[in-house]
């Protein structure tokens, strides 16, 4: 309560100093990260990061300042007000916020096993057991294993009366096996790349990954890739496994539908988007098999929470409904801006506040970010898709990725692929990659697997903005099939 009162006082002082709107976030985040290379601890770090950030609107312009020194609060309020006044000098129109209810609530991640109760020895033993499995495979030349926990307590108070407290717990782990050959290194990650798989949950999430069980195959596949055939260039059918699809959803849909980006706010850095507002409600983004949602309410999702960083409640929003673009990821400001842009009679759709404003800690101003962005399950299965394919490739686990600054032209590559010949899986293929243009690619989707093959992956690294902000996102996906895709080359 003392902290709540302190934050309320800051908000009052900001309003007294001329702010028409003010919010304060106090964030206390602890993280624990351990990384083994070849079974030896290379990094074992706990990190505590605590501070506060104050966001104000003065004369219709934004200002933000943050500090880790709580004794500097008066100076930080002054800075935030100064920053906003400086912004207002170069301002064509005043910031407007779409209205939301001022919530007074708290929210906690449900957990079964508190990770803080798990000793370092136990965690390292688990990683070393997985490492030993990889090391037992002849030909594996380097191994990496990591595990991370994040504990975030945050308080949000606004001049509109919001008082929100949240406790978020995130856990995850992953392993990588490398195999070096002549002028070539191949690698396999388990259960996925980007440090493995993470979720909002307790240590039970780490145990559920099955690191040790998956380690040997991870090593074997890394070694086998050295002698696998190269991917032949051409056009063919591609089936992306669940983990590979996280990348496709993330890069070609998630980022493309961030409304701040659509409206040009990221033009100088991350770029803009091809998915411009006149397309809302009528653009065929994908085939009827493609339905995409943003959902911060999903259990265990790495981007599941109670409220976003401007106090909007977590919710599920359908972004693409059976192929048609119907919504964006929004904030209070962008929702209001879009409403003003849509000419009456031409396109009367408005977009809701989707609860996607997220900040990378106390020291950053919130931006429109992804939460859990999901390809909704379909009615097929991986087995059916393979059986229904005369010739093609199955691609698994994200390797590398690149997409242009409007999120159209992409090239993505998996760690591993297999040929499909006459409805059956064939030879392993290395160095595969596929390319395309976003709408053409998603419109070529002719099957999505069902709920029993759907998995909500957690990716603890998504970058955006200046200064750079990294947030944790989730992607729920099931294997899906795409026709006439350019591969290799």
């Amino acid at each position: 309560m003392a902290l709540q009162k302190w934050a309320e006082d800051l908000v009052e002082q900001a309003v007294g100093g001329g702010a028409s709107y003010a919010d304060v976030r106090v964030v206390d985040r602890s993280s624990e990260f351990v990384q083994l290379w070849d079974g030896k601890i290379e990094q074992l770090l706990e990190h505590r990061d605590r501070g506060f950030g104050i966001r104000v609107i003065v004369d219709g312009a934004w200002g933000f300042a943050g500090s880790s020194d709580f004794s500097h609060s008066v100076d930080i309020i002054r800075r935030a007000l100064e920053v906003a006044r400086a912004s207002s000098v170069v301002q064509h129109s005043q910031v407007e916020l779409a209205s939301i209810s001022a919530m007074k609530q708290s929210w906690k991640t449900p957990i079964q096993i508190d990770p803080r109760r798990i000793s370092f020895s136990e965690r390292i033993d688990l990683l070393q057991a997985a490492d030993s499995e990889m090391a037992s495979v002849q030909g594996v030349t380097q191994r990496k294993a990591s595990m991370g926990f994040y504990f975030t307590n945050q308080l949000f108070t606004s001049s509109e009366g919001a008082e929100i407290e949240q406790e978020i717990v995130e856990c995850g782990a992953g392993i990588v096996a490398l195999a070096a050959g002549m002028n070539e290194v191949q690698h396999r990650s388990f259960p996925a790349s980007f440090q493995g798989d993470y979720g909002t949950a307790g240590y039970e999430y780490v145990l559920g990954i099955g690191l040790v069980e998956g380690a040997k195959q991870c090593g074997e596949e890394a070694v086998a890739l050295l002698s696998a055939k190269e991917c032949s260039p051409g056009r063919t059918t591609v089936i992306l496994d669940s983990s590979m699809l996280t990348l496709q959803v993330h890069e070609s849909i998630g980022h493309a539908l961030e409304l701040d980006r659509v409206l040009g706010s990221e033009a100088s850095f991350a770029g803009t988007s091809f998915a411009t507002p006149e397309k809302l409600g009528n653009f065929c983004y994908g085939s009827p098999h493609v339905t995409i949602s943003a959902d911060a309410t999903l259990p265990h999702g790495l981007a599941s929470f109670g409220f976003d960083d401007e106090g909007a409640p977590a919710r599920r929003t359908v972004l693409i409904d059976k192929g048609i673009l119907v919504n964006y990821l929004t904030s209070r400001e962008t929702s209001a801006r879009l409403g003003g842009l849509l000419a009456p009679g031409k396109n009367t759709r408005s977009v809701p506040i989707s609860g996607n404003m997220r900040a990378d800690g106390w020291q950053r101003t919130p931006l429109v970010r992804m939460t859990n962005i999901n390809l909704e399950p379909g009615d097929s299965s991986l087995a059916k898709m393979i059986a229904g394919t005369d010739e093609g490739l199955v691609m698994k686990t994200v390797n590398t990725y690149s997409i242009d600054d409007k999120r159209l032209n992409f090239t993505f590559s998996p760690e591993i692929a297999w040929e499909i010949k006459n409805g059956r899986l064939g030879a392993m293929v290395k160095n595969a990659r596929y390319s395309g243009m976003t709408p053409e690619f998603w419109n070529s989707c002719d099957a999505v697997a069902g709920m029993d093959e759907w998995h909500l992956w957690g990716i603890p690294a998504c970058g955006k903005g200046e200064p750079g902000q990294s947030v944790h996102v989730g992607h729920g996906t099931a294997p899906a099939r795409f026709r006439n895709v350019k591969v290799g080359g």
């Binding site: 601890i41 706990e46 030349t141 033009a267 100088s268 988007s273 950053r364 590398t400 090239t411």
Partner: protein, 455 residues
């Protein structure tokens, strides 16, 4: 925030005396900076941040534990050391650890690293420079997006073996993308500036550079995929150099079998017109004379006249190879995607050609101003893929004849750098994901264009 040498070293000394372990290392980093962003010729994000952090690492024999905190009161520091010790006692031995840094005097940086006036620039000062960029674009009939920043950064390391090093520095930058009004993302021109002295930032010049590119960048054409002669701007070379460094210039990449330099020591691996080195004392980059273990940085000649020479080390990778660290350990609280060690103040030796001369010498080729979303495809062959943006132009008979759509390239950087025909004379300083690069333009004979975008 005033993290003077005395105040910082006193803070670190308070950590050292708390240690119950055999050894302790305390690393400090602080920043006090502001960043102003604009888009559509309007300031839309504007922020200020002050933060300071200590990361302590303690050792019982070879058992290591670390704790980082930005709670710097007595309770916070005491708690950090205590927790690091608890972690160390519970951890398994780290065989490549042979003690924290001994007392060693770093070399002297050649150049100023701290400009008091840069430290004092406030939000109004940044907004004024942003307004100047916007005004320059506006006069030419364009709208501008971009950012302006300035700040103070402090780093220090102290160890119980007696090493004690400190640096306070300023950094600033300005960048802009301009386009015709209402056409964000189309027909853009880009320019950027990085430097320690904010007074040297010329917003009118920055805006004009971007306008000059955007003016030429409308109604772009496609081009057939294939190999082309390409002129890479200094910015583009800087990004490719970072990726080449990440894929092959550090001991970890050699020890993992990934580096293209493995088995190539003293052999020709790039064009003989290319020399690449890392120099933590060269003030024309962002020089810091020690690394995050407190080890003085050694100049490492990585490529000399095209010949492979050496790679950079931190203490762990040096122990693996039974050699000495070159002073290239990364911060313990870095982006975990990048493993330590890594070059952080990279240079390519300039040549003598102006941009105009590079273009005039090209019968048919492509001028690439800016790269985007470059990513690794194949480490051993140093293949990356990425896009061009903010100005890609066809050159015919020694002159720019038309703009091209943004192009996708998939190219071995080492192969491109093997086919270098000319090296530019002007150097550009740029921040990369880790560290900085100082690079000239390069004209390369072969660069693989794999596809095009629609804009």
């Amino acid at each position: 925030m005033h993290w003077s040498r005395e105040r910082t070293q006193d803070l670190l000394a308070r950590c050292l005396v708390e240690s119950p372990a055999d050894e302790i290392e305390a690393v400090f980093q602080a920043q006090d900076y502001g960043l102003t962003r604009f888009a559509g010729s309007t300031i839309h994000q504007n922020m200020s941040e002050e933060d300071a952090m200590v990361a302590v690492r303690v050792a019982f024999g070879q058992q290591l534990g670390s704790f980082a905190t930005n709670q710097l009161d007595t309770e916070g520091l005491r708690g950090a050391v205590k927790r690091a010790a608890e972690i160390a006692r519970l951890s398994h031995p780290t065989p490549n650890f042979h003690g924290f840094c001994q007392p060693m005097q770093p070399g002297k940086v050649n150049g100023e690293v701290y400009f008091p006036a840069t430290a004092e620039v406030d939000a109004a000062g940044r907004a004024n420079r942003a307004a100047d960029v916007i005004q320059t674009a506006g006069k030419a009939g364009f709208e501008a997006a971009g950012a302006v920043s300035n700040g103070v950064y402090v780093c220090a390391v102290a160890t119980s073996r007696g090493q004690n090093v400190y640096q306070a520095e300023t950094r600033s930058h300005g960048l802009t993308v301009v386009n015709r009004p209402g056409e964000a993302g189309f027909g853009t021109g880009y320019a950027e500036w990085y430097g320690r002295d904010f007074d040297k930032f010329d917003p009118f010049s920055l805006g004009q550079q971007a306008v000059d590119i955007s003016v030429l960048n409308h109604d772009p054409a496609g081009i057939e995929p294939g190999n082309y002669a390409v002129i890479l701007s200094p910015m583009a070379v800087g990004l490719l150099l970072f990726y080449l460094s990440w894929m092959g210039f550090h001991a970890r990449s050699v020890q993992s079998g990934q580096s293209f330099l493995i088995g190539k020591k003293n052999k020709l691996v790039l064009s003989d017109s290319i020399s690449i080195w890392d120099d933590g004392l060269d003030g024309s980059g962002y020089a810091v004379p020690f690394d995050w273990e407190g080890v003085p940085k050694q100049r490492v000649d990585i490529i000399q006249d095209g010949l492979a020479r050496d790679v950079v080390y931190d203490s762990f990778t040096a122990a693996h190879d039974a050699c000495r660290s070159s002073g290239h350990c990364l911060s313990p609280v870095r982006d975990q995607y990048y493993s330590s060690p890594l070059p952080s103040n990279l240079f390519i030796a300039p040549g003598g050609a102006s941009k105009e001369e590079l273009i005039a010498s090209t019968e048919r080729g492509i001028l690439i101003e800016h790269l985007w979303y470059v990513r690794e495809v194949h480490y051993g062959n140093t293949i990356v893929t990425g896009m061009t943006r903010d100005g890609t132009f066809l050159i015919e008979n020694g002159r720019i004849t038309r703009p091209l759509c943004n192009l996708r390239f998939t190219q071995s950087i080492a192969e491109a750098f093997r086919s270098v025909q000319m090296v530019g004379r002007d150097l550009h300083l740029a921040e990369q994901f880790i560290g900085v690069s100082v690079t000239p333009a390069l004209k390369v004979e072969r660069f693989n264009i794999a596809g095009i975008s629609t804009f």
